[in-house]
Amino acid sequence: MEDILKNFNSMTGRQLFELQADCGWSLSEAEMLAAQKYFKSAGRAPLYAELETIAQTWSEHCKHKTFNGPVEFIKDGKKEFIKDGLFKTTIYKATKKLNKKWCLSVFKDNAGVIEFGKNKKWALAFKAETHNHPCAVEPYGGAETGVGGVIRDILGVGLGAKPVVNTDIFCFADPKYSKKLPPAALHPARIFKGVVDGVRDYGNRMGIPTASGGIWFDDLFALNPLVFVGTIGIMPTWAIEKHVKAGDLVVAIGGRTGRDGLHGATFSSANIEDASEVSAVQIGHAINEKKVLDALLKLRDKKLYRAVTDCGAGGFSSAVGELGGETGVRVDLSKAILKESKIKPWEIWVSESQERMILAVPPENMKEAGKILKSENCEYCVLGEFTNTGRLEVFYGKEKIVDLKNSFLHGGVPRVIKNAVWKTPEFKPSAVKEQKNYNALLNKCLSNLNTCSRESVIRQYDHEVQGGTVVKPLQGITHDGPGDATVIWPTCATNDLKDYNGFALTHGLNPAIGKLDPYQMALNCIDEVFRNLVCAGADINKVAVLDNFCWGSPENPKLMGELVLCARGCYDGAITYGAPFISGKDSFYNQSKGADGKDVAIPSTILISAVAPVYDVRKAVTMDFKEAGSSIYIVGVTKDEMGGSVAAEELGLTNAAPPQVDGKTALKAYKKIYEAVQRGLVNAAHDISQGGLAASLAEAAFSGGYGAEIDLKKVPASGNLKNFQILFSESASRIILEIPYEKEEVFKKLMSGVKTARIGRTSFVPALKIKGLDGKEVVNEKLSALKNSWQKGF
């Protein structure tokens, strides 16, 4: 290789591209030419480890080139040039415009940080990541290391936060998938099992509750599953900022370095079939990470280091490079603690061996830090020191293997224009023949894969460890109903049992709407998180959101068009609802060749994760009906919006319009509901989502063990709707509330000016009875039957 690199500066673009392909760097010809220009101006040929460093640092995974680059967008024939890229003009712009004072650190560290609790003593850090490509190849190891990685993001934000809850959201194909798969692909059922096992084993062994999540099924995820994992941590506000000083020691703590996980960053930036190599897949070691966690928090509280970050994609190369980006850094890799002796220096540099973190420790603190690390059985080594040279210098003993200017490494990646197109589709009213009885369709909707119970998965996770899960993922009288949001009381971090401040967290995800209208997908997801949060009693005036975009190839103009629309939906949603984005991530190239050799991309998908304060966790609300004789109210308007709905899937409806979100009206309603919950007027609140009003009523009823009698004539509707649409439309911004009889008048007064209607009452009779528009019963089903349908999904 050294011989080839001697000629690097005289290679043509084509030769450079072939070289990067042979080395698995996932760089473009333009990027290789930019690297060549740098080395030409430096008057020397590159060293192999330098090109590896550039490949890691410039990968899509690390540099987010698609989101940061310019876009030429043609919508319905009209051209537009987005010069500043999507991130600056949508996600970041919304946060900047909203300028919320309670956002303490956004888009500059490993996670977003917001205020938590009272007296500005605590802060909350939230990060959600994807680990899609590794999970497609090795589901168990991929999921484990995904969880481990996002936990380390929280340990590496500021000076470190204590993780208090993990989240998990998956997109899989039907576990009973029967179509032909390419030879190397794993069956969706196996991916499902492996991923759940991996998330379970890592979270449970770390002693962190996995308490919030979801699963979406669509056969287009057969080859490329999506695995989103998130962590929330609590930290003292003094620990939010980190500053490296020249002279600080570069200290690596945690796991040993081996050949596992080589080229992880460049692997996740490529199509799977191009680059599925064994070394890109790693196996997690939760016990090692627990040692790191325990040691790190002790070191933090004694203020023994000035900065910390985790070794994620790119390993030492990105972690050391990132911490030394402002100053300069010199390390000697011969000091690293290794798993094996045959590893090459460049492999040590870019290895993605797990459970490692880098600290900047002032030399005078090293002795005490070493004692604490030893006492926690956490291995460490001093790799070098931070300098003031503005250079990244890497040695192996006396041999220099990397010497790059930080300004080139972090600012030298060329910007490439992406092409995006979008043609707005036309939708038709949903023409369905009205049925006399909807029992069968309701049962089908409840057992649909995207509605049915996730208990078999949720129960595998320890969602109670740390003792702070106040509102649990499974709710109701027998603890098996579908909660809207989880409420956490993080006393294990604050050690204050007299402080009832907690937070609610939830997610919004709906690729079915995205297939029809990516702009509305983003808005619907944001609306869904608001619905879920307000149902749990969280303050919807202080909602922070995270974005995770998962897409196919950004070289495909149609998919880029969907991305532009979705990002704009995020901007409009954030501004309308007043919810800043505090962190986010993107994952591209989620596509592979199917058994027929054709490229199959996933449905373009965004996950919105959200967190909001619950000032008194004792006032949190769950979704199950609590008593007989209460009134059932609906907030919001039902429209003919069957597009992307579960009922449309069951009946094979196409071209139906997806839900259109009216954020201003919705927010006004949510603020009133929040007040009603705070005033103790609400027994139960449940959002209307998959399966529509009928499914939502059924879930609240069978979870609480009380029946319901409903009159569809009372449901506020727009247009000339039939029973079918009122029962199963998935219009946004609707919530059902159980209001006790004695509080009804106060509630009605409070809700004035908002579309609210009393649609029925709860009952001792364990059945869901719904009268249609003509007064005849259209649903009359036992709760046991409905629950049975819901529980038998998979």
């Binding site: 196996r190 081996g258 599925s276 064994v278 790693q282 196996i283 997690g284 939760a286 016990i287």
Partner: protein
């Protein structure tokens, strides 16, 4: 020197696991399974006398209430023996923990410990059919190596 320590469930304590294995193999089309017996194999590479290996197995690897063990056990007769190992190029997390634990117990640190999931399976099927089923369920060749033998 390499020692192989097999750790078995005592009668009645492994049924749930063995039923699970049976069901997973059946779910991918392996028919006529008569019996499955699952266990773990620890491959300990270290400089130990046989009595020391016995002590490591007894004090560390087998739970005396639920499990029994055998050091370098003879091959099972007239059944297929399936072993699923983590590839040498991948981290064997349990193996690494056992290395540390052996040292903590006061023995010399072993060069390496690797762990396999193993099961003896009896039934009216061919080795090829079993291999296909095992590959679809318990083995991912990206991170695993495996063997199937009938003695």
């Amino acid at each position: 020197m390499k020692y192989f320590v097999a750790v078995y469930h005592k009668l009645g304590y492994g049924a749930h696991k063995e039923n699970g294995i049976k069901k997973r193999l059946q779910s991918v089309g392996l028919k006529d399974i008569l019996e499955v017996k699952s266990y773990a194999i620890y491959q300990i590479d270290g400089d130990y006398a046989p009595a020391q290996a016995e002590n490591i197995a007894k004090a560390l690897l087998a739970d005396p209430v639920l499990e029994t063990y055998a050091v370098n056990p003879p091959a099972p007769q007239n059944v297929f023996k399936v072993e699923v190992w983590i590839r040498d190029s991948s981290t064997d997390v349990v193996g690494e923990s056992v290395v540390d634990a052996i040292e903590t117990l006061g023995f010399k640190r072993p060069q390496s410990v690797r762990v396999a999931n193993a099961f003896n399976i009896d039934g009216k099927f061919s080795e090829a059919a079993l291999e296909t089923a095992v590959k679809k369920t318990f083995v991912n060749e990206v991170v695993n190596k495996f063997s199937i033998r009938k003695y």
